[in-house]
């Protein structure tokens, strides 16, 4: 098959875009070159979109209703610009969840339009299979991401919602969806089956995210990222468009890879995160109920006492967690670190891979507060240094510093690699209240003799520390 000159040109533009996307991703491997990578990908995107428009409107006339496109593009760009420029960094997990929802929606709708257009009857086996998968994954990503967004925002409870037969019914629905896609392959014009696939996708998105707790959000966000990518890839197969297949594959595997890393950092398998909520929740409850009344009381210190400990410290490691994001305390952390450094104290930051609600969440917040990234250290790099450190300052982190992960085999987080904050000479923990953490797991760090709990809003407490140290 020989392509016309215009077709050849557009295909070459797609090829160039694909190469630019891969090069952009490669540049993202280093903070020094990362911005250039974004620029490369932007050039690729403009080339692909402009090529499609010029070719569709001007050459083939495939695109006839360009007014609608123009309006949608303008509104979309305006909304995108607004979201891009003004969403606060603390809301990044929410914005990522929303963008996965948009991605899923776009892909799902394209699938529906393809089906409407062909009525199914004239679609090849490949087209109908790809379209079915595209619509199922797109719909699932759309509602699943909205659920994740709702959980992050607090519209929906962050605790796992479970009921009897949950996993069995979800698996049955997944099997049903695949079965219907199979039916469509045999009978492409069975429109009811097509819309049933879309409906099942919508339902599955809601039901699959329902049982997953807030602390497991990083894995879910990665997984939804992966689904959004795979859905885009399926679109590529349906339309016979390679740049879509490539981008979808890149996005899909990036999400998958990140999700694997997150699961590994929690010492859990993918399937345990996805289907384990039912088993884990009651178990955790039993542990709390048994231990809470009998355990020793936590050592609660005043702001002044804690400030004295910090004043005497020569080395401090800050351990940030989701609480830092909630209380927007990253700037207060940085101010305190500045004062400590002027006193000759060494300040470093220990970042647990699953601290926060998405991969890299803490890094972005600290970067926003102007903390140089060479002061941030991954778990495996810094963990041995805690024992030689005067103060570990835990800012709104809980599970990632829970020593039960090392010692208590009955704990739901047993085996998860944790930051050894308890090994520091003194561990100062900033926490809102003495209530058990998000996952409902008791934290024995809080009752250790070398731990000092300072209760209250982390940001306020940190500002009081800074004021006290400046005196």
């Amino acid at each position: 098959m020989t392509l016309s000159l215009a077709e050849t040109f557009v295909q070459l533009l797609y090829l160039a875009a694909s190469i630019l996307f891969v090069l952009g991703l490669r540049d993202l491997g280093d903070a020094q070159t990362a911005r250039r990578g974004v620029l490369l990908a932007e050039v690729g995107m403009v080339a692909a979109v402009a090529g499609t428009l010029l070719y569709g409107v001007g050459v083939t006339g495939v695109i006839v209703r360009w007014e609608w496109i123009l309006v949608a593009l303008l509104i979309g760009s305006a909304v995108g610009t607004g979201m891009g420029l003004w969403i606060p960094m603390t809301k990044m997990p929410e914005r990522i969840a929303l963008s996965h929802a948009f991605g899923g929606l776009a892909v799902g709708l394209v699938g529906v339009v393809e089906y409407l257009e062909h009525g199914g009857a004239r679609m090849s086996t490949l087209q109908i299979t790809a379209t079915g998968l595209e619509v199922a994954l797109g719909a699932l990503t759309f509602t699943g991401s909205l659920m994740a967004f709702g959980k992050l925002q607090g519209f929906i409870t962050g605790r796992p919602v479970t009921y009897v037969g949950q996993n069995a019914s979800n698996l049955a629905m997944i099997a049903g969806t695949l079965g219907l896609i199979g039916l469509l392959v045999v009978q492409p014009d069975a429109a009811w089956a097509f819309y049933a696939v879309a409906t099942l996708g919508v339902l599955l998105g809601v039901l699959l995210v329902l049982p997953i707790g807030g602390a497991d959000m990083p894995v879910v966000i990665c997984l939804l990222n992966s689904y959004a990518g795979l859905a885009a890839s399926a679109t590529g197969f349906a339309l016979g468009n390679n740049v879509l297949i490539i981008c979808g594959a890149l996005d899909g595997f990036s999400g998958f890879l990140l999700g694997m890393m997150m699961s590994k950092a929690m010492n859990r398998s993918f399937s345990n995160v996805l289907f384990g909520a039912f088993g884990a929740a009651p178990e955790a409850k039993a542990v709390t109920e048994g231990a809470a009344p009998a355990g020793p009381a936590p050592n609660v210190g005043s702001v002044e006492e804690a400030a004295e400990v910090l004043r005497a410290a020569r080395s401090v490691i800050v351990v940030p967690g989701y609480g830092m994001a909630v209380s927007q305390a990253q700037h207060a952390v940085r101010d305190l670190a500045n004062v400590l450094q002027t006193h000759g104290c060494e300040v470093r930051y220990a970042i647990h891979p699953v601290a926060g609600r998405m991969p890299g969440h803490m890094n972005v917040l600290l970067a926003e507060a102007n903390v140089p990234y060479d002061h941030l250290f991954d778990l495996d790099v810094i963990n041995d240094d805690f024992s030689a450190t005067d103060v570990a300052l835990v800012v709104g982190a809980n599970d990632v510093v829970n020593p039960a992960a090392r010692s208590n085999q009955s704990s739901p987080i047993y085996g998860m690699p944790i930051l050894s904050a308890d090994m520091a000479k003194t561990c100062v923990v900033l926490k809102r209240s003495l209530n058990a953490g998000f996952a409902g797991i008791e934290n024995e760090l809080f009752v250790r003799s070398n731990t000092m709990m300072v209760l209250g809003d982390a940001k306020k407490t940190l500002m009081q520390f800074t004021a006290a140290l400046k005196e």
């Binding site: 776009a106 740049v243 594959a249 890299g360 890094n363």
Partner: protein, 97 residues
């Protein structure tokens, strides 16, 4: 099985493999920008949305397609902007960048 499918699978798996290699080299530090970035490039589905919205298949298709264009363009524009905004914040000591 059609040849188109075979070609498509080649493209898919080679891209996935390349992506795996490249992405596993991205440090933890940049994982949030990475997600925003891959989200922006997967907005390439805009290409599909444009064809869907622009076709003369009837009002329903046009409206659904236009919504798809809207959603995809939010991701493309917003995704790139926010990735760059995050990356601008990452500074080494001394801010010599």
């Amino acid at each position: 099985m059609s040849l188109t499918l075979i070609f498509g699978l080649y493209v898919f798996f080679l891209a996935a493999f390349t992506g795996y290699q490249v992405i596993s080299k991205v440090p933890h530090l940049l994982h949030t920008p990475l997600m925003a970035f891959t989200n922006a490039i997967s907005g390439i589905s805009l290409v599909g949305s444009l064809l869907a919205a622009g076709g003369h298949y009837g009002t329903a298709s046009t409206v659904l397609g236009a919504v798809a264009v809207l959603a995809a363009s939010i991701n493309v524009v917003g995704g790139f902007l926010i990735t760059d905004r995050m990356l601008r914040m990452f500074k080494k000591k001394g801010g010599a960048r």
